[in-house]
Amino acid sequence: MKLSTSLIASLIGLGLAVPASAQVIYPLNRAEILAGSKFDLKVEFPVVVGRDKVSVTLNGVDAVKALGGTLEFVDKEDGQDASSYLLRNVTIEKAGSYSLEVKAGDVSSKVNWTVFDTPKGKIAKNVILFIGDGMSVAQRTAARMLSKGIEEGKYKGDLAMDDMPYMALVSTSGSDSVVTDSANSMSAYTSGHKTCVNALGVYCSRAKSNLDHPRVETISELVKRKQGLSVGVVTNSEIEDATPAGMVSHTRKRADYNDIVRMFYDVKPDIIMGGGSPNFLPKATLGSKRTDEDNYIEKFKSEGYSFVSTATEMRAASQGGATKILGLFSTGNVDGAYDQKFKKGTTGKFPDQPDLAEQTKIAIDALSKNEKGFVLMVESSRIDKYAHSLDWERSVYDTILLDNAVQVAKDYAAKHGDTLVIVVADHTHMVGIIGTYNDDLPGTTPREHLETYQNSKFPDYKPDANGYPETVDLKRRLAFSFGSYPDHCFDAKPHLDGEFAPAAAGPVKGTYVANETYCTPGSVKVVGNLPTDANSGVHSADDVILTAMGPGSEMFHGRLDNTFVFRAMTTALGLAKN
């Protein structure tokens, strides 16, 4: 229930109690907080209250005394008729159950937090976290079918990510909504707190500025501050995109790329690799997307980073013994595995882009020079992006790409048993394999060519040495189906020359219609099942699969909230201890 400020004021005027929900406390109720990690406490009052009328206590002790820090009491937050209470950068050192109680006159509210310890101490020296962005069960199944093959119902091999001793279902909903996005979900993995769509490393309060929301500490900040570990962030998206940004960022809005570049610079992960160079270039440079004259490539260089922009330069930096590398390989996203293999996408402009598996090897080589250990996050980002664009072959090639990178980490972990390896998606798409399409069947439309149940014979994809089929343009191929889509023209054929763009801007502002480029003979016009302002598929709220190996991986079993991934990583690293 929502109450307007004026109604609440009237209720107070009448001496009536206001529901506890009228005050909002961050961290939220049932938050799990790592002992010794930093967070901001914020209490939002629905009306203006006097400082002297407010009592905030933690387990009965005044919060300022219990938590330390300097109280910021804001009489009128952002000029609104509402007061706020803020304690920034506080910590709770002792594990246990905590109640934060707020009283303002007759109005009170309470949240309960669990502060957790890491009782085993440091049992893992290193953590390697793989994120298959948007990787749902169907992409995994298809990746296995395409790269390992299947005969008489039995696969000829496992994916590297399949062959791990521990598995769990992970739930991904955010604090605000059933369906999450990559910012919110990565924030849960890197901070242990659930937040809302588009937010990174902050709770979504009512603050007007994206940078003023209550912050929670990320794993990158924690391992650098408490243990002096090295940190790596490797992706094939723009480096400022939500998943890599989640390693370092505190902002309400993931689209704030220029702020996110600054946050990378503030935290200084030792290895930073991805695309998205324009937000590093000063405004005066043609192609820059900055609004100031800061040159972040030069800033990183002056901090001892080797800057590389091609795979060749990356190898040279590695061979030269670099321990800090900033690699920006594209102005946008790095091309996915399909486009790199078949020289499509932007490979004409950027002919020497790296491969995620090789990047993982180079990142591990550099980070493992730190004797204290490292945390490395590797993301295969375009599994998701291609699922948005309903381009399943590219999505599955990038699932195979992720798996090749996982194999590199497993090879390292085989020799370094103190390494925890985790493979997980951040959310799902509504995808499934419903059979095969067979062009030899009569008719021209997709449904006439669809084979289901006993007619869905095993297609003959022929993988190369890296597991990528030499062609996806088979007469009999998988029928990989998307459950959410905009208007589009569908011909059930692979998009050999470029990523599918199902919808284009329509004549009515803010709406999308089928992209006529694909409305060719043999295609059918599919009426979208999404609102008309959607131009691509959307995420789904289904649980994701997590597999893990190495010390601490036994914590993963059953069904878990996504925040538990942070808990397991920090427990394995013993991060509650100094």
Partner: protein
């Protein structure tokens, strides 16, 4: 609904307003998105010699009108391919780098969003921040008009 003679006159005047003047049309050099840049790399872009030579001169270029900010405006963005911005897989600030900002000679209804258009006007290069929207551009066609291509 039958079209009245008056409607036809109004329509004719409107289409005249959005067509290039004869002087510009006859002398305009045709640009394409593929020849705007000499190099396009991680460390930035370089304009082609053709673009540098045409600064301040009449040009025409065809492309796609990006979904406009307002229904009627003197400002829109021209892109090489039809734009479909994904709100969650990309940020709303994530325009392609090779865009052309178009300033029309007068505010016009932008009815052709998503359609291919031919723009004619005076080429302007260099960093410029739109005073209304804050949109930063490096390449513009000013005093422009457009028609469906």
């Amino acid at each position: 609904m039958p079209i009245s003679r008056r409607d036809m006159i109004v329509a004719g005047l409107l289409s005249l307003a959005t067509f290039p003047s004869k002087a510009v049309a006859t002398t305009a050099e045709v640009l394409t998105f593929d020849t705007l840049y000499e190099s396009f790399g991680v460390l930035g872009l370089k304009f082609s010699a053709q673009v540098l030579a045409l600064k301040g001169k009449p040009v025409s270029i065809s492309g796609y009108m990006a979904p406009p900010l307002r229904a009627e405006s003197d400002f829109f963005v021209l892109t090489k391919n039809p734009l479909s911005i994904c709100p969650f897989c990309q940020s709303d600030a994530d325009w392609p780098l090779d865009i052309m900002v178009v300033y029309l000679s007068e505010a016009s209804p932008l009815v052709t969003a998503g359609a291919k258009v031919m723009v004619s006007g005076i080429l302007d290069i260099g960093s410029f921040i739109d005073p209304d929207s804050g949109f930063v551009s490096q390449l513009r066609v000013r005093n422009a008009s457009y028609r469906k291509a």
